[in-house]
C-alpha cells in the first residue's frame, strides 16, 4: 500500500486527486467510490452522509453525496458521468464509517460510468497518485493523515 505522511492509498484503487475520492473497478461495468484517507482527515469527524438515490444520473465532477462535519455541509464529487446503481445504506446509521474505514466499509455509492475504460484511464492508480496527492496536501497545508480509534483502512 502506498503511503504519504501517514495517509494510506491502497494499490488496487484509482484516485481522482482533484475530487479527493477513490474508485474501485468492480469488474462488472460498475465502480464503487468513497472518500480518501486525506479527504476524511480534512473533513474531520463526519456526522451525516446522504448519497443521492440509486437510479439517479450524475454528471462528471458533480456531487454524488452530501456530508456534514462540524457545521460544514459539502459535496463528495464523482469524477465520472453515469448512473448510481447502489448506495451504502450503512452510512445513514453511522457516518463515522467514512472516518473509520474509508476504503472498506466506507464506500458511498456504486456507479455505472458512461465510459468506464476512458474514465479510469484519466485517473491515477495506486502509487501513481502519490505526486498528485503530495502537491494537493502541500497546497492544503495538511501535515499528515489522522486516524480515529478503530481505524481499519
Amino acid at each position: 500500500m502506498a503511503e504519504i505522511k501517514n495517509c494510506l492509498l491502497p494499490d488496487d484503487l484509482y484516485y481522482s486527486v482533484e475530487n479527493n475520492v477513490w474508485v474501485r473497478d468492480l469488474g462488472d461495468g460498475t465502480i464503487s467510490l468513497g472518500m480518501t484517507d486525506i479527504a476524511q482527515t480534512l473533513a474531520g469527524s463526519v456526522i451525516h452522509c446522504k448519497p443521492k438515490a440509486a437510479g439517479k444520473k450524475v454528471k462528471a465532477n458533480k456531487s454524488i453525496a452530501t456530508v456534514e462535519s462540524g457545521k460544514w455541509v459539502g459535496p463528495v464529487k464523482c469524477p465520472f458521468s453515469g448512473e448510481i446503481v447502489a448506495v451504502n445504506e450503512q452510512l445513514a446509521q453511522d457516518a463515522t464509517i467514512l472516518n473509520k474505514s474509508p476504503y472498506k466499509e466506507g464506500w458511498i455509492v456504486k456507479v455505472r460510468p458512461d465510459n468506464l475504460e476512458g474514465d479510469l484511464a484519466n485517473l491515477a492508480k495506486g502509487a501513481d497518485a502519490i505526486p498528485g496527492f503530495e502537491a494537493y496536501m502541500a497546497e492544503k497545508e495538511l501535515g499528515e493523515c489522522i486516524h480515529c480509534e478503530g481505524f481499519d483502512g
Binding site: A43, G44, K50, G70, V73
Partner: protein, 361 residues
C-alpha cells in the same frame, strides 16, 4: 481584491435564505466573491441540512402561529431567526478559497471566517472571541453561531450579528419531549446566550453594526467591497431556490433513524440532554444540562413510585458536578442508592445504568 457587496436591506423570510443559496450555486471557478447582508421581515425557524424537520421543530405550533420553517443547505441545528439579527453571507468559488486566504482545515477555516464578526463586535465595545469549532462567545456566553455550506462550485459562510434574541420563542418552537426539557432549554438559552442589547444595555444602530461588520471584512481579508446587486443569472438561481426551499420534497428530504436521546445544543460547550428508559416499574427520564462535559444541572423524573417521597431532587443532586462519564455517573449512583436509602418499586440500579449509557453515548 474586489468583492461584491450585496446590501439587500429587509427581505422576505424566503429571500433571506434563497438569495445566498442562489448566489452560491451560481459561482463558477472564476466568479468574484460576494458578501451579502440582510434582515428577514419576520421571525422564522431555520433548520440544518441534516435535520429531520418534524423531529426537531414543533411544526404544528409554528403553523398555528404563522412561523415559517425553512431547511437550509448549511450545517448545524434549528435556530430562530428574525429582524433582530443582521445576517451576513460570504460567498466564493471553492477554487478561490486559498486565494481568499481561507485555510483548508475546517476548524481553522471557521476561525478565520468568524474574525470579521468578532472584530465588528470588538469595535462596538463587546468583548467577543472565537470558541471552537464555530461559535462566537462573549465572556463564556454565545452571541452567535456560524455555518458553512458548499453548493456546487461555491462555498457560503453564514452568520449573523445578534442585536436581540427571543429565548422564550426559541425554546417554544423546538420539538421537545416534555416541558421539563423545555424549561431546561429555556434556562440554558437565558444563561448561556447573550446579545448586543444585553452586553451594551441598549440596541446599537443598524447602520453602525453594518459599518463595523463590513469594514472588518475589508480589514481581515484585505479586500475592497464594491456595492453591487444580484445578476440576472443569479436571480434565476434565486427564483429556483425560492421554489426548492418551500417544496415538501426539500423539507422532508432527510429521514433519520429514531434515537432515544434528545439533544439540544445551546452552544459549543453547553448542551441539554434527555434520555428515557422504560423500567419494569415505569418510565424514567433524566434531563441533564452539561457545561464543558460536566453535569451542571439534573432533573430525574418518572411515573414510578419512590420511597421516601420527594427524594428525587436529592437523588438528582447527587449527579451535579459529575463528569459526563459513564463510570463516574455509575459510581455516584451506587453511593446515592446506599446513602439515601431509596426504594423504587420496579426500578433498580440497572435501569439507571441504561439511562446513563444513553446520555454518555
Amino acid at each position: 481584491m474586489h468583492v461584491r457587496l450585496l446590501d439587500m436591506g429587509m427581505v422576505s423570510v424566503l429571500r433571506s435564505q434563497s438569495i445566498y443559496h442562489g448566489i452560491t450555486e451560481s459561482m463558477t471557478a472564476d466568479s468574484e466573491p460576494a458578501i451579502s447582508i440582510m434582515r428577514p421581515e419576520a421571525a422564522y425557524v431555520s433548520t440544518g441540512y441534516f435535520q429531520e424537520v418534524n423531529k426537531e421543530v414543533d411544526t404544528e405550533y409554528c403553523r398555528e402561529n404563522r412561523i415559517p420553517v425553512i431547511r437550509r443547505h448549511v450545517g448545524g441545528g434549528a435556530v430562530l431567526l428574525d429582524a433582530n439579527q443582521l445576517f451576513f453571507h460570504l460567498m466564493l468559488p471553492s477554487a478561490r478559497a486559498a486565494e481568499f486566504g481561507l485555510p483548508r482545515a475546517l476548524e481553522e477555516r471557521f476561525e478565520k471566517l468568524a474574525k470579521p464578526a468578532i472584530l465588528a463586535y470588538n469595535k462596538l465595545g463587546i468583548n467577543a472571541s472565537f470558541r471552537p469549532i464555530n461559535d462566537i462567545h462573549v465572556n463564556g456566553k454565545k452571541i452567535g453561531g456560524t455555518g458553512v455550506g458548499e453548493i456546487e462550485e461555491g462555498i457560503v459562510f453564514a452568520g449573523s450579528m445578534m442585536f436581540d434574541f427571543d429565548t422564550e420563542l426559541m425554546a417554544r418552537v423546538l420539538r421537545l419531549p416534555d416541558e421539563k426539557m423545555r424549561d431546561k432549554v429555556r434556562a440554558g438559552l437565558n444563561d448561556y446566550m447573550t446579545t448586543m442589547k444585553k452586553e451594551l444595555d441598549v440596541l446599537p444602530k443598524l447602520e453602525d453594526v453594518a459599518e463595523a461588520l463590513l469594514s472588518s471584512f475589508e480589514e481581515i481579508f484585505n479586500i475592497t467591497l464594491v456595492p453591487s446587486m444580484p445578476t440576472l443569472e443569479e436571480m434565476d438561481k434565486i427564483y429556483e431556490w425560492d421554489e426548492r426551499l418551500r417544496s415538501d420534497s426539500w423539507m422532508n428530504d432527510i429521514q433519520l433513524a429514531e434515537k432515544d436521546l434528545k439533544h439540544v445544543k445551546i452552544s459549543s460547550n453547553v448542551k441539554i440532554l434527555q434520555a428515557a428508559h422504560k423500567a419494569r416499574g415505569g418510565l424514567i427520564r433524566g434531563t441533564l444540562r452539561v457545561v464543558d462535559d460536566i453535569v451542571d444541572d439534573v432533573c430525574i423524573s418518572g411515573d414510578f413510585p419512590m420511597s421516601p417521597q420527594n427524594c428525587l431532587k436529592e437523588f438528582a443532586h447527587t449527579f451535579q458536578g459529575a463528569r459526563l462519564d459513564r463510570e463516574e455517573l455509575e459510581k455516584r449512583l451506587r453511593r446515592a442508592l446506599t446513602e439515601l436509602n431509596i426504594d423504587m418499586a420496579g426500578v433498580d440500579e440497572n435501569d439507571f445504568k441504561q439511562l446513563f449509557e444513553q446520555v454518555t453515548q
